[in-house]
Symmetry: D2
Subunit: 347 residues, 4 copies
């Protein structure tokens, strides 16, 4: 299975083509819509004021409600665009954003309106593709769950068992500890009021992958495969498996996950390895944490350069931006993980 996301934020439509979807899957469009609504901005004071309805049209690959095995094309029309808000940034790149790098790459031919192809809006088709992947995984009793593990330094409770994530997807703000969640939301609101933004982290588990998938080698190891999907999500700057960076503080006696037998099955007591040893799944949940940078589009004035004149200038951005993308990114990270899991399974 291979996905290609296309579109620009203020173009006619965005979408995704999924190749290699197995034939005969009865596609649950309601479940897909539900995933998309998790990602959509809500009038909760934590997200952009832009409304995104994100209705999915199937252009190909589905017949009488079932996948045909041919390329599955899902398209979402664009709307509610304020393109004029972006005139300023055409030649004055936003610090932290892809504007400058994209300008150089495209030799000045970027669709700058609304962030164009770099827009977080492009994560909607990714979520739609992920919904297909999740339905395929569900047939093998594999599921993906996650929680917001931190926002602006406020950490959620420690995850003890991946099982705790199973029902979390129904929460509008998925944390293990709601009091911590309220502190996180408060941090977002404060940043918003001050014209600023905040970053955070998401911890995610893929549960049910059998042991023995992957290989230690380049292009085949499970961590490398997952990270390729995860870094394709805008704003992700770090991908850490199991105990992650804390392993640099650990000894082998702490880090090694002792083997034991439970219900006749070889398992590990702890999961510091994040379900992967030597690039191969060990049967425990594939567990990882990603860090997402603060939204680069902030209301406060910033230093930039006018690319027409090559002179330094101050930039003040208009438009409707998210003060934090972490809570909206939860279903996106899960979608990326689901697609990665399909690749690891050889689907």
């Amino acid at each position: 299975m291979r996905y290609t996301v296309f579109g620009e934020s203020h173009g006619p439509a965005i979408g995704v083509v999924l190749e290699g979807v197995p034939a005969g899957l009865e596609l649950n469009m309601e479940a897909m819509a539900k995933e998309l609504s998790r990602r959509a901005p809500k009038p909760d004071g934590l997200s952009t004021a832009r409304r995104e309805t994100d209705e999915v049209h199937v252009l190909s690959g589905l017949f009488e409600g079932k996948t045909t095995g041919t390329p599955l094309t899902l398209v979402i029309q664009n709307g509610d665009q304020h393109s004029s808000d972006y005139e300023d940034i055409r030649y004055i790149p936003r610090p932290g954003h892809g504007d400058y790098a994209g300008f150089v790459q495209s030799k000045g031919n970027l669709d700058y309106r609304g962030g164009g192809h770099f827009s977080g809006r492009l994560t909607a088709p990714l979520v739609a593709a992920g919904a297909v992947a999740r339905q395929l995984l569900a047939r093998r009793e594999i599921w993906v769950g996650s929680h917001i593990s931190a926002i602006y330094g406020v950490s959620d409770a420690v995850l003890n068992e991946a099982e705790e994530l199973r029902e979390l997807g129904d929460k509008p703000f998925p944390v293990l500890n709601d009091a911590k969640g309220e502190q996180m939301r408060q941090a977002i609101r404060e940043a918003k009021e001050e014209g600023d933004s905040v970053g955070g982290s998401i911890e995610c588990a893929v549960v049910g992958l059998p042991a023995g998938l992957g290989a230690p080698d380049f292009g085949r190891n499970v961590e490398g495969i997952f990270s390729q999907y995860l870094f394709a999500v805008p704003a992700v700057k770090a991908v850490c498996f199991g105990a992650g960076v804390a392993l640099s503080y650990m000894r082998g006696t702490e880090a090694n996950d002792p083997f034991e037998v439970r219900d006749g099955k070889v398992v590990t007591r702890t999961n510091h390895a994040g379900g992967v040893n030597g690039g191969i799944t060990n049967g425990m949940p594939v567990l990882f944490e990603v860090t997402l940078r603060p939204t680069p589009s902030i209301a406060l004035p910033q230093e930039s350069v006018d690319l027409r004149t090559g002179e330094e200038t101050e930039l003040e951005i208009r438009g409707r931006h998210d003060p934090c993308v972490v809570h909206r990114a939860v279903p996106v990270i899960e979608a990326a993980a689901a697609l990665a899991a399909c690749e690891v399974l050889g689907m």
Copy 2:
């Protein structure tokens, strides 16, 4: 350029095939040997007692000292093997190691001796391949440097300028602050004495990549490409770009790198983005930190399972193991980064 590492620790030889090497590169075999000697275990009390001479034989792709553009095959003979040390682990997997996952994947047909294909020894051909990549990059004035940023919680000085890394490769223990380096070495020695091991981190920069390389998309974004190479290095469990996980503690005003003009060139004052915005290089050094887990092979007894009987058992490992792989991994991470940079450049 595409590399394939092959071999097992106690097989006849290990090696690498590099496809797509540009023709006409005058291969500096001395520079390659130097990189390999940086990786080789030394009698410094910090590494395995196994001696690895790692002399490279060129089987193909080189003629009259220059690359021909055909597959370049580099082979290193194996030697100094104590295969009998490994009889115990054939059916009793080491916690934290790839033994169990590999056993399941190979349906019990693993070459278990010395870790087989999972052995850290397989990083030698990777370093050799990286040496080729580094020589190609040097022709474009691109270089790779790094330092040990932490071992068992002891952190090196903060890196201010990538330039500080330029000459660090000559140091046997590459840190910015040698006093910190001595504390790290002490931590390794203590772990070794207690039959244990320690983890750590390496911060690495690729300097000189032009702006405009990569894309935001899956399979094309720079962070995704680099991470695929980095996670293919055994023991790497986290890959973090720029400010990395610290971005979850930051606001946009801190995280955004202000643009300015220096010597007529657009640059950023800080480099919290690690040289990548929207998946595309911005012309600043591509900067990242990887975390390596503590060596799983430790002398202390550990809990495991006998895969023949399915019963829990205690495992005591014999053999000569590294109490820490971080210092030996420095040239390996640099090699992986050099190969990734070549892919990003379309070489």
Copy 3:
């Protein structure tokens, strides 16, 4: 550059996503429309009565008339469908068509209407993608031309110089010798009247590719790359480079193309190698001939099997079918060749 064609003949739309298009190409939509009209069925008695307007809508990747370097999505709405014509073939596969193979592959979930994803209609987006490739090639003074070399045993005049193909694209029935062309048309008309169909061949040249592209190796050799694109065109069953199958009748003295110097450039006097030696371009036109099978959908009764009952049965097809696809396939083969040439050039 990588293309993905999607859609079904009687679905809402068909289209193509092109990844890796260089930014800054001023896309000539008129030239694209012209290529599509070459492929469209005409009321000439040689083609299906189905009307295909094939207007291309750009969903992404184009801004202010120029490519942006992001995925370029081209969509063509479907129309003029007689889906009821196809009820019969849902479970009774047409001999020679993909119906049965596709039924097995999709486990019965095929969109059988109008041939679904197997329909020749899917070559329209391929032509659109090829038009982009041709415009990229034109910037390097590389062009693609071809002629119908045979239909039902009637052969066109022998091609002496690739130059003769340069203006042939303007002809509605592109042959070198129009008298032969009329004989071919007569053969098509006769087959049509008898409820039958005919096959034929197309000879095609890519002119202007520099010497030194490709490699002898799997995945990199020029003939392998071209053939992958050519066999992706429905009905193509043979791909022959240069003198092709006639090489099995030749001696080395005949087959070898003598080198000579013309205008200070090394060229070959003849081009029996089709511009490729050892898998690498030699600077001569890349020249090849493809054979297309007779249209499998014919009006005459045929022997088939009812896949519901597993019993043999007679099939009589309704619907509007091409008695020959060769003349309509000319721009399709050129499109495939243009895309292949872009890959060979590393675009």
Copy 4:
């Protein structure tokens, strides 16, 4: 499974790395040696006088006689080299050979001795890799067989049933009709005596592939996959499936393969489609014919160009060359087909 052939004719060794070999295959090295001896030149007056022993050394991926799932590396040492024979062609390319194209591609850094990486000798590791593929296929009762269908215009008897090819591999000169085979050998001998060479064709079948594999799309269609493997064999210039170029002489009524039920299974009465409809296997033998050009290295004087001076010159080649490669190519084509079949099966 992915193979990479490496080496040069007069370098230290040639070989192949096979990635993705399933673990647990008990590798039959004798069967591999037998395939290699089929390819080796024999003192039959039809082949080069060079002796090739082609003993395979396993460098990695095999343990206790079984594949481990890690990269399998097979190496053959070179020997019996007359490098001085090739001084003349370093700067004076042989017509019809890869010398000139390779010179341009490598910017003059080619290992010209014995054809270097372009040498037919490189088909030995391909045969070794194919032997692994054949053993994997045999576990699913899939086999590959072929016959020499033509040499210098002398055609073998028509193949009626793929079954006729089953035992043909044991023949030193595999034809259906031995009288025709003797005429072919005579044509080779005559060409040799006159310092010339001849071309020919091989018809090959892969028997036992189930229906439903592949897809019509680029990169996934069965004909495209096979042709990529087949064109990677030196000297192959045409690949034709089923009735091949004869389809351009046919009507649909002739070309369409009628479906029928035999032993409860849907089959086709004829196999003009070569076992592939719409890019997907239909359960019949995958049947194709390849054309191999006459050996370019001939003893007769030829016109060429001195690449140092850019002046036309006459070339007379020394060395020991095959007057025909077709009979030696039979196991090579079978090896390529076996590897292609593994890809089609998703192995």
